[in-house]
Point group: C2
Chain length 244, copies 2
DNA sequence: GAGCATTTGTCCGTATGTATT
DNA sequence: CAATACATACGGACAAATGCT
């Protein structure tokens, strides 16, 4: 089939990997070179090929490990909550608040939030983890009036969705979102713990209160494409999943 | 900043490339090696980095060329037409019919098309081009009753949307879609003219007639991520674009 | 904390294969 | 056919990050 050695090796490894649990160690470059009788370059190319296929993650000094990618499903009918969405995919969500500031709403965000520029806002920066692996960097904007003591509440509760429901007595629903894949700016790349340029999801989102229609939150989330497959469903029609 | 030579070179080239027209030739590996005083390995790594950033395309034997990526915007309010969507992004669409068969509707597709398995269908395979570059491989399913002579009509008109409007006297609107990024199966990769594993969009879509609500078409489109950035908008709220 | 082995990351030089022009 | 340019591959070397002693 393939005339190139490293693709043969990659295909063979892909089959072996297939059943393994995420986090399982894959043979190192020197091990593969010895096993298949090739140089380190070819062994390395094979592992890099698997990395491009999102089947493994490679960490300098540590090794190469079987990767897991979850489906992050966005639709009108699902709650706009990171924790809920990750749990729905069968994985364990965790998030870490990097900062909560009170800042006036910048003009560029005013349209999303349906408020005048200058309105007092909470600006929350979070990093989110899936099964303890860094996956997402989120910037969230929430009007101070919606949850005055948001900064205090976030010390004890991780989920912003939950805090809004409890403190703000509202029911956030996803009113709008725009999802795409891009190469993020270097500062976001660093925030996500990747050096080289890898594809990353950018999801811009606006949440409203189900009852009043009031805008509760606007956010921009950068998510590693090797950690999640974002699936956007345009309408609420639900079709049975097909097995690939 | 960066301690690695090839990233320095890549960053420098990225700036130089920035203003160039798509298709412009980029310096070859040996040229870069000489210019920056590095080996061919580092020069090559720099060009591969630019390829990962989707800034260039590389063709064996030909060279490295500045790439263009268009926004393919999908939303409820936009027509489900490949030609229209590509034109809206300011590029030139073209498509080539690979095959039109009459086949009974397979069970896996029945739900999407709201018809019983076995219903007579047209199955159309198309490859689509943006500015004469192969970008998309589409499989489309259309009930024979909707457009009995579809196979004949497609000899003269490229756009299926147009054919349905004229022959079928219907107005297709996007009723549902599911968009994600994946590594396609080898046969699709070959159909898209890529050898190594590159990220590709998979957009599954269902179109209905605006008037009657009848399902007109279901399709699966694989699109090269270096050719388009698919942007899915969940509701019809339109916000002003922000300049990155 | 220091030291060490392991593993991936970067880079050199060189050679050959293969596709394009 | 020849020249060019990218793809693959070898061998060797050192750097940098990780994990363990």
């Amino acid at each position: 089939m393939t005339s190139t050695r490293y693709l043969e090796i990659a295909d063979k490894l892909a089959v072996e990997i297939d059943g393994c649990r995420p986090g399982t160690r894959v043979a190192s470059e020197p091990e593969l070179a010895a096993r298949f009788g090739v140089g380190r370059a070819a062994a390395r190319a094979a592992l890099q090929e698997l990395e491009r296929r999102l089947l493994v993650r490679r960490v300098q000094g540590a090794g190469t490990f079987v990767n897991r990618r979850i489906d992050y499903v966005i639709s009108h009918s699902r709650p706009p909550s990171w924790h809920t969405t990750v749990e729905a995919a069968g994985a364990t969500p965790r998030s870490h608040i990097k900062s909560v500031e009170r800042v006036p709403l910048p003009a560029g965000r005013a349209a999303h939030l349906d408020r005048a520029a200058g309105t007092p806002m909470h600006r929350v920066i979070r990093t989110c983890y899936i099964d303890d692996l860094l996956a997402t960097w989120i910037e969230e904007w929430i009007p101070v009036e919606v949850a005055p003591d948001l900064d205090l509440a976030l010390h004890s509760v991780e989920s912003i969705d939950l805090v809004l429901r409890q403190m703000g007595r509202v029911s956030p629903v996803r009113a709008w979102c725009r999802a795409s894949v891009d190469i993020p700016p270097p500062e976001v790349l660093r925030g996500l713990g990747v050096e080289a340029s890898v594809p990353v999801w950018l999801v811009d989102s606006v949440s409203r209160d189900e009852g009043t229609g009031q805008v509760l939150m606007a956010s921009s989330a950068w998510t590693r494409a090797d950690a999640v497959r974002v699936v956007v469903e345009l309408s609420d029609t639900v079709y049975p999943e097909e097995n690939a």
